[in-house]
């Protein structure tokens, strides 16, 4: 039996820049984002889903009826990130929220920059803060902010 070996530790990054194809539904949503617009899609039961799903969560039908929506909405639930993690896209305290875009039924998740937890509440109105430059990516919505 030999003496105890040293503990060998080393940081490493596992990563790749994936090149994804979006298909027509996700592509349509991202194209709209680039134009600083939000589109939803009608589910089998007529409810408007944001971001648009390709297939209905209940019937599994392929969905295709897009609906133009405003860039405002209402917070359905939220969580306050007091200490953003390194990967988080905002480097100051922020909220995650499920936001029901006005005119839609199924809410989306994004960030809300409200400055302070006390400014957050379920039912509050928010609007999109668009990125300075949009490119057709989910982060074209930089975040939402209190409206």
């Amino acid at each position: 039996m030999s003496a105890q070996a040293e503990v060998l530790q080393q940081a490493f990054t596992l990563g790749y820049t994936y090149t994804r194809t979006t298909g027509p539904v996700v592509g349509r949503f991202l194209t709209a984002l680039r134009d600083r617009k939000i589109v939803g899609i009608k589910g089998s039961d007529g409810k408007v889903i944001v971001p648009p799903m390709e297939y209905d969560p209940v019937t599994a039908e392929e969905l295709s009826e897009f609906v133009d929506l405003p860039d405002t909405g209402v917070v359905k639930t939220w969580a306050w990130v007091k200490h953003p993690r390194g990967k988080h896209l905002l480097d100051k305290p922020f909220a995650w929220a499920q936001i029901q875009i006005d005119g839609s039924d199924i809410p989306m998740i994004h960030m809300v920059d409200a400055g302070d937890e006390s400014k957050m509440s379920t039912g509050m109105k928010v609007k999109v803060r668009w990125a300075d430059e949009t490119k057709g990516f989910i982060t074209d919505i930089a975040c939402f902010e209190p409206a």
Partner: protein, 352 residues
């Protein structure tokens, strides 16, 4: 259908960082013990072996391949792997036994979560267009669910603290637990929020470790001459990936699985529930249809230590061990996968 006997279950201690133990070194001790309990030598002595693990926990493709080194798989064995919690490996083995291709099976799950930032790693379980690029981590998505539950009036922060206090207390009698002790609901509520509405203690710790189980037909268990618990029912279900398409205050997939597994067919003395966040135990207790006469998570549950990819199997094992020891006659175990309880498995266990 053939009844399944759970003959042996072993788990390693939950530790924050298993440090200089690789996958084989992590798995081998629990495999050794679970085999010794039954009095068999290696995977050669069972008809089927199945494991559960996740490459991304330690950041290496095919992490599970190394696990085979711990089995003594020469000559070759019948073996499979799910990229899921090992509770689903148990399910796969149940199918194999029910179809008559195996009379016995060895199952194990292992996870070394310590090398990465687990909640962030698991953000990449989300759809790759809308959510994973936002790095919505698992604590954050759970916090969204917790707020929805609190807003709905179905639970209070005190209810959540009560779950934690009970977990810590129960864990005192669990030698494998990572977090244990006496703490009052008031003390817990006095703590600051961590990811509001969650406090740090509402979230499970991150643990390295492994667990293993041996199941068999009842005939085989008798042949081994070992006491066993009987797996009466097992079922698993998934629900929509779109958070907005789900009622986050319920666990519909658990409700369906509980019904299919036959939870309500008898009294439930003990339930081991895989609830990585305190509020999820409240949601799951309801979804499982459990009353206040059921002792929930006598091991402390995963709030006392969460070995990702093994914890679900361990919930089943915890209940089985109580039945084998004669402490209870009937219990329920639950496992979960994905963000905010997207996928769930329910098992019903009874005495022989």
């Amino acid at each position: 259908m053939r009844d399944i006997a759970i003959v042996s279950f072993v788990q390693s201690d939950c530790v924050r960082d298993a440090g200089a133990l690789n996958e084989v070194e992590l798995i081998m001790p629990v495999i050794r013990k679970v085999l010794d309990n039954v009095g068999i030598q290696s995977a050669q002595d069972v008809d089927f072996t199945c494991s559960g693990s996740c490459d991304y926990l330690q950041g290496a493709a095919f992490a599970f391949v190394l696990g085979v080194d711990a089995l003594g798989a020469v000559p070759p064995i019948k073996e499979s792997h799910v990229e899921m919690d090992a509770a689903w490996a148990l399910y796969e083995a149940v199918l194999k036994i029910r179809m008559g291709q195996a009379d016995s099976a060895l199952l194990y799950g292992f996870g070394k979560s310590s090398p990465g930032e687990l909640p962030i790693v698991l953000s990449q379980q989300l759809d790759p267009y809308y959510l994973s690029p936002l790095w919505l981590d698992t604590v954050s998505s759970a916090a969204l669910q917790a707020r929805a539950l609190l807003d709905s009036g179905k639970a209070t922060e005190a209810d959540m603290a009560e779950v934690v206090a009970r977990s810590r207390k129960n864990a005192k009698s669990n030698p494998h637990a990572q977090l244990k002790g006496d703490v009052s609901v008031d003390e817990l509520l006095a703590e600051p929020t961590y990811l509001s509405p969650l406090r740090k203690h509402d979230c499970c710790p991150i643990s390295d470790g492994a667990s293993a189980m041996i199941i068999a037909t009842v005939e085989k268990a008798k042949e081994w001459g070992k006491p066993y618990a009987v797996l009466k029912g097992i079922d698993h279900r998934i629900e929509s990936h779109h958070f907005g398409a789900r009622d986050l205050t319920r666990s519909v997939s658990t409700e369906i699985a509980a019904k299919a597994a036959g939870v309500a067919d008898g009294p439930v003395e003990v339930a081991e529930i895989y609830a990585p966040f305190s509020h999820q135990e409240i949601i799951l207790k309801k979804a499982l249809g459990l009353g206040d006469d059921t002792v929930i998570n006598p091991s402390g549950g995963v709030l006392a230590g969460n070995q990702m990819m093994a914890s679900g199997l361990s919930r089943v094992g915890e209940v089985a061990n109580r039945i084998i020891k004669g402490e209870i006659k009937r219990g329920v175990a639950h496992a979960t996968s994905g963000h905010a309880l997207q996928q769930n498995l329910v098992a019903v266990l009874e005495g022989a």
